[in-house]
């Protein structure tokens, strides 16, 4: 992709139309690279600039293509297939008439999807999906590196910290620690050698804010790190990024090389006395390495085991030197704050949660993607106004935030404000920005089990309570979902959960019980149904459900029988088929292939009756 890196420079040569294809990794998974290549051929010889960007936010409409004319507005086409390219070129680019049936967003007219963008407040994402992430000039053309210039030329390090403190910015990695305070600790720590670390481990499995920012606007994160380095007196930075994000790593490397070349990294930046270098460290697949002391051990090339604090990283971090660790999104906020002032930033948000927050909306949501909203917005507003409601047409059941450390918020509390304190009050957390929308087909016991399975295998094993306790919790959850739950199991889960929290050294163990405790708190009846009625109300837990052919509806076509991987379905053509319950692996394939809705799932009492037949 490097070869296109300079394409924005064509701006100067009389080009009036720009075609911009969203090439973040999710877009590529949806087929955007093929679309880009098709445009490349189709636009040959035309005075049109073809470029690419990262994430435009509307994942649900990928592949996304934006056509921007200097005088004709912005039009974003959604779900673009290579076959549609010729018509877009012909009618819109050459003919001047946008194909409105395919346009999902425009600054000229209001599309049905317009609320998705218009209800957001974009600070961090402002240039995501706009700039070319592999071209520093593109970032410079939107005011890039102006913030570090301002800091170096007109602010002392203390003033930078003061500005960040005034903004009220709190860490976006989960804990919400005030960023200005963290920097000033590191600044005040004695010693000349200090480090800035960017935490790009993005451990929450189901979240992609940091990936998107890094793939879409890597320079904004580098600039944030530079400003942090200047503020605390550090000359070196590390970016610790998970290896599962190869495209983000690639774009970061390109960005670092270009910044070095242009003198925004390296020694005597912008002819000042400030020098700064950034190195990349790839994670190796351990969730606990998102925890700061474990991360430091991993940067040092060791096993990523957390250690007791104090000393805090600000006193003794990587190589025993004062170190300040911040999340990707935290850094991405910094240039904006320096340029626009802390007061402008603190105008967004609530009393104790300033600014905006980026969320990765996924699950049963109509408009899944990346959204940035002001703090204080309610969950309902995110789900319905921005997200367009549920994709399945089913009812909202719960919203999960904070991943394995977070909690499930029931639909009845969806009018809760999204800010650090309100979420904490109801047992959930802000987290790093994963937001999963669950409809009523989701089994909450299964969700708790899913997270426990994850955290159990990710516990580093140092503390007994975390190591043994997570195993124990998982065992109980497994027996409940297997139909072997006992009276008293719910209380046991609660008690064990509290003990693990109290006896754990690091945040992983301390928050491990959250998914269990919040699902018990808000969905206790579901646990009870599993334990006492041997029923899974959502019909998810395999041990508690049966697949059955509805004799009245079955046409005897035999399709299910051919597809069934275990040979559990038999019957004679044109007669109702039957499922052998002993052989059935409950994979659900038969339901998805039956064209006559003749297969049903039963649980609990209902199921007993079926089995009895």
């Amino acid at each position: 992709m490097n070869e296109h890196a300079n394409s924005t420079s064509a701006n100067t040569s009389g080009v009036t139309t720009v075609v911009n294809v969203g090439l973040a990794s999710c877009g590529i998974a949806a087929g955007a690279q093929k679309v880009y290549d098709t445009f490349k051929t189709a636009l040959e010889g035309l005075a049109v600039e073809l470029t690419f960007s990262g994430c435009m936010g509307m994942c649900y409409n990928e592949p996304l293509v934006e056509v921007r004319s200097l005088n004709g507005g912005r039009y974003i086409y959604g779900k673009v297939q290579p076959e549609q390219v010729a018509r877009i070129v012909h009618e819109h680019i050459q003919g001047g008439t946008p194909i409105m049936d395919w346009v999902v967003y425009s600054d000229r007219i209001k599309t049905p999807d317009a609320d998705f963008i218009d209800k957001q407040q974009r600070i961090i994402l402002k240039h995501c999906g706009v700039v070319n992430p592999e071209n520093i000039d593109s970032y410079l053309s939107v005011g890039g590196y102006k913030a570090i210039e301002k800091a170096l030329k007109s602010m002392t390090p203390e003033q930078v910290i003061e500005e960040i403190s005034r903004s009220g910015l709190r860490g976006r990695g989960g804990a919400g620690f005030p960023t200005g305070t963290k920097w000033s600790f590191a600044r005040k720590s004695p010693g000349r050698e200090k480090y800035v670390i960017c935490n790009a481990d993005e451990g929450d499995p189901g979240a992609f804010m940091d990936r998107s920012v890094l793939e879409s606007n890597p320079h904004s994160v580098l600039e944030g790190m530079l400003i942090a380095g200047y503020a605390m007196g550090a000359e070196n930075g590390y970016i610790y990024i998970r290896a599962e994000y190869p495209l983000a790593i690639k774009r970061l490397k390109i960005a670092i090389a270009q910044a070095l070349e242009k003198g925004y990294l390296g020694s005597h930046i912008l002819d000042s006395n400030f020098s700064f270098n950034i190195m990349i460290r790839e994670g190796a697949g351990a969730f606990v390495c998102g925890e700061e002391t474990a991360l430091i051990a991993s940067v040092e090339g060791k096993r990523g085991m957390p250690r007791i604090r104090p000393p805090f990283p600000a006193q003794s971090g990587v190589w025993g030197k004062p170190t300040s660790i911040n999340n990707v999104e935290t850094f991405a906020n910094v240039p904006w704050i320096i340029l626009n002032g802390g007061d402008s930033f603190s105008r967004f948000g609530t009393e104790n949660s300033k600014g905006t927050k980026v969320f990765a909306l996924a699950g049963s949501i109509a408009r899944g993607g990346l959204v940035e909203v002001p703090m204080g917005i309610t969950i309902n507003e995110i789900v319905y106004d921005v997200g367009g409601g549920l994709s399945s047409g089913r009812k909202l059941k719960a919203v999960q935030t904070g991943g394995p450390s977070g909690g499930c918020i029931p639909a009845s509390l969806a009018d809760t404000q999204v800010d650090y304190d309100s979420l904490k009050k109801i047992g959930a957390i802000m987290g790093s920005g994963g937001m999963l929308i669950m409809d009523d087909s989701t089994c909450m016991v299964d969700v708790a089990k899913f997270f426990l399975k994850f955290t159990k295998s990710e516990s580093c094993g140092k503390c007994t309570f975390c190591r043994v306790g997570t195993k124990q919790l998982l065992k109980i959850l497994e027996r409940i979902t297997n139909g072997e739950g006992r009276d008293g199991d719910i209380e046991l889960l609660e008690e064990l959960g509290q003990k693990i929290s109290a006896g754990a050294l690091c945040g992983l163990g301390q928050t491990v019980p959250n998914p269990v405790l919040t699902t018990i708190k808000y969905f206790r009846h579901e646990y009870e149904a599993h334990i006492f009625d041997k029923a899974c109300p959502a019909k998810k837990c395999k041990a508690l459900i049966s697949y059955q052919v509805l004799a009245d509806a079955c046409k005897g076509c035999g399709r299910c029988s051919r597809e069934c991987p275990t040979g559990a379905i038999t019957g004679e053509k044109k007669m109702p088929f039957t499922i052998n319950q002993e052989m059935c692996a409950r994979c659900g394939l038969c339901i998805s292939v039956c064209k006559f809705n003749a297969i049903t799932v039963t649980t609990g009492k209902e199921r007993g009756e079926v089995k009895g037949v």
Binding site: G301, R303, L436
Partner: protein, 184 residues
Amino acid sequence: MSNPDSLKFSAENFDAIDQIVNKYNSDKGAAIMILQQVQATYGYIGQSMLERISQLTGIPTSELFSIVTFYSQFRLEPLGENFIQVCHGTACHLAGAERISEAVQHVTEAKPGHTSPDGKFTLEHVACLGCCSHGPIMTLNNETFARMTPEKVKKMLKQKVEDKGFVEQSQSQSRLTEGRELSE
């Protein structure tokens, strides 16, 4: 790097290891980086490779081994001809990742974290590839596939089961290899 022959002779041919260690050993705390590069080159990390790295770096084999077993990225078995990752992140779990994984296991006979007996498939479970709105997500030899269904799995893999698999071998060194190659 992507020459299939280099895979075949990997156990005896340590030239690449020597080069990697030379390149990174001057960095402080390079052990993980060296191991990552070795795996990117050979597809896995074998006992003899650990010993070679230990000789060159002076880091005890036992310490290297404890790193390799701590981090789930490292593979101690050679990679099959086709490399499959099924995402088991939260979004994909809710979207039915379990069924995708079952379908893969059914067709390939590879167990999660292992290679199939015929050496054709390696199946890995991963936690989130960052494409959560398109789940369930699966990758096959570097390419990411969105909105998978058991039917799609069957169709995609049936073909590979019947394939001789030589073409795929060169591509099967995982996306990590690609990430590095492209960026250096």
